[in-house]
């Protein structure tokens, strides 16, 4: 019987976690400064177990303070964007939905650009914090306009998100047009999605929100299955739909806000990872949500590793890599209409 059971979810999660660890290990061995792979891994394990020795001071700094935090951050963002994308696709019953569909990302962008223009871009907490606040403010405004008599109407919410997103895009264009040359490059890298802004402490800002959002959504994953066939369908099966929608929309938005604030607009991850996971494991959210999180994390760490190393020492924005992979993959999905019927 091919159904999703607790055992199946647990087994697969363990397997995908091992894959994720493997991707992280490979990622920290690669970079513009050559540290031999085995020595990189030895440095990592020695530090985990609190041992000294192995590798020079510089090598240790590169592995432990640069590459590892960056991989972990990319992992959180990849997981967050994938889970948020899967949720929006279910709630809006739209296969083209992605984490940015409600305009949250544009709010984050306005915040980030303001921070850059005010010269806070180099200040450790400044950029992600202001960006995060911009995203949260946008969530509040979108939900204020997207709700009618205490109920969320998906189309109204979607319209509110798109309109507010467009308005914020106008602000972004305005800021770009008045910015100086050096700022411009930073802004454009941010808009394409880039981890080079991040530092270790960025992880501390975002991980509580991504974890919280993930657990709130995972607890509702069975009910997300039911709402996939329509809200009336979910009510017929005893779901308190308004509550489900409110918590799920807000959780997915919170995850998006936290993710975008540390690394800018990384495209395609939140769109294609859920589709790829459905293609392999089916549409059940009890499996889709954890599997999307783990595969999305691996995918973004791998993409960021490419972005760092492809033209080393020049770094590419990671968004360039995800789009380069994501575009063709999405076209492949379109060809295989089995997965996405309604496009």
């Amino acid at each position: 019987m091919k159904i999703v059971t607790q055992k199946k979810v647990a087994t697969l999660s363990i397997f995908l976690s091992l894959l994720l660890i493997l991707v992280i290990l490979v990622s920290i061995t690669m970079g513009s400064v050559k540290v031999p792979p085995l020595r990189s891994i030895r440095i990592l394990f020695q530090s985990i177990f609190g041992l000294k020795g192995g590798g020079s001071e510089t090598e240790r700094a590169i592995i432990l303070s640069l590459r590892l935090p960056r991989a972990i951050l990319a992992g959180f963002v990849g997981a967050g964007l994938s889970v948020s994308g899967a949720t929006f696709q279910a709630l809006l019953r739209n296969p083209l939905a992605d984490p940015y569909i409600l305009g949250v990302s544009s709010g984050a962008a306005v915040g980030a650009i303001l921070a850059i223009l005010l010269g806070l871009g180099t200040f450790s907490f400044g950029l992600p914090l202001i960006s995060f606040l911009g995203a949260l403010l946008t969530v509040l405004v979108v939900f204020y306009f997207g709700r009618q008599d205490g109920k969320i109407h998906p189309n109204t919410l979607l319209l509110a998100g798109v309109i507010i997103g467009s308005f914020l895009s106008a602000l972004i264009m305005f800021f770009i047009s008045i910015s100086q040359k050096e700022e411009l490059r930073t802004i454009i890298f941010w808009l394409m999605g880039d981890f080079s802004f991040s530092n270790t402490r960025a992880i501390l800002i975002i991980f509580p929100y991504i974890l919280l959002g993930f657990f709130l959504l995972y607890l509702r994953s069975r009910h997300l299955n039911l709402i996939l066939s329509g809200e009336e369908n979910a009510v017929q099966l005893g779901v308190d739909v308004e509550r489900l929608k409110l918590v799920s929309y807000l959780s997915a938005s919170l995850i998006t806000a936290a993710s975008v604030s540390v690394c800018g607009l990384i495209g395609f991850v939140g769109l294609i990872i859920p589709h790829a996971v459905r293609l392999i494991f089916g549409p059940d959210h009890r499996l889709l949500i954890p599997a999307s999180a783990l595969i999305g994390a691996s995918f973004l760490i791998a993409s960021d590793t490419f972005a760092r190393t492809l033209l080393a020492p020049t770094e590419l924005p990671v968004g360039v890599i995800t789009a380069a992979f994501g575009g063709p993959f999405f076209l492949y999905l379109l060809r295989r209409r089995k997965v996405i019927k309604t496009i």
């Binding site: 159904i3 066939s229 329509g230 369908n233 009510v235 089916g282 549409p283």
Partner: protein
């Protein structure tokens, strides 16, 4: 079992249902007929509290439906609605298992007992052979049987049917309705069915409710409700009514304008 006490409902300005009262006893097969926009679907939606009437109340075994938890309603009232949207299709078994949702509460996964109940429901509706197939590969008739199985997995006391035969050919209409009738007769399930097909309602239902503009125009047995006078007044077209020669139930024939 279900007691509807003078309910009125409106979406916006205009009342869609006005002062509707009736009772459905345990094991009864009630048909709701009436023209487009007479309030049939709205009435069904109120009966599982998708919509809440502004006036009046509904008692389910003497308990006001307003005071029941959603999951408790879903344990007692199952709905087989018109086609649902299949964006990312689940398998037949997964769809039937969803009927266990109201019993799971905060649990994430179905257990052996749930699986057993789902299998029995599938056996009963003869869909077990294709339990692994995705829903979008089934024919309309097969999909209907899946949704009956899902309704059965809810172990309900009442099944609400909204235009159940609308998209089916006559063979599948009869298959479907025989299945429902067996559930009604053998398991004592209460059935409330909204239908456009007056002949089907006449043949299968114990009692009919004829709606006109959100009010009950006539309620009673098929013989009492399906008369030339009632139908012509409510539907506004000429009809001929005689008896089905086999069952003896009222039978309606449509007439061309001026063609006789």
């Amino acid at each position: 079992m279900i007691e509807v006490n003078s309910i009125s409902f409106r979406y916006h300005e205009d009342w869609v249902l006005q002062d509707v009262s009736f009772r459905a006893e345990k094991g009864e097969f009630v048909g709701v007929i009436g023209p487009n926009g007479s309030g049939k679907t709205t009435l069904l939606k109120i009966l599982y509290r998708l919509l809440t009437p502004q006036k009046g109340e509904i008692l389910f075994e003497l308990v006001s439906m307003k005071r029941m938890e959603r999951a408790d309603i879903a344990k007692r009232v199952a709905v087989v609605a018109q086609e649902t949207h299949l964006l990312f299709p689940f398998s037949v078994l997964e769809t039937v298992l969803m009927g266990r949702s109201p019993y799971l509460g905060h649990l994430m996964f179905e257990n052996e007992k749930d699986l057993e109940i789902a299998k029995k429901a599938m056996e009963w509706t003869k869909i077990l052979p294709f339990s692994e197939r995705p829903m979008d590969e089934l024919s309309g008739g097969e999909r209907k049987r899946v949704f009956i199985a899902r309704a059965l997995a809810q172990e309900p006391e009442v099944i609400l049917l909204d235009e159940p035969t609308a998209s089916l050919d006559i063979q599948h209409q009869i298959d479907f309705l025989d299945l429902i009738l067996t559930l009604n007769r053998e398991r004592g399930l209460t059935i409330i069915m909204a239908s456009h097909d007056i002949n089907i309602a006449s043949e299968f239902c114990d009692r009919l409710i004829l709606l006109q503009g959100g009010r009950i125009y006539k309620m009673g047995t098929a013989e009492e409700v399906i008369t030339k006078e009632n139908i012509e007044t409510v539907y506004g077209c000429e009809v001929w009514i005689d008896q089905n020669p086999i069952s003896g139930m009222p039978r309606i024939s449509l007439l061309k304008k001026g063609g006789h």
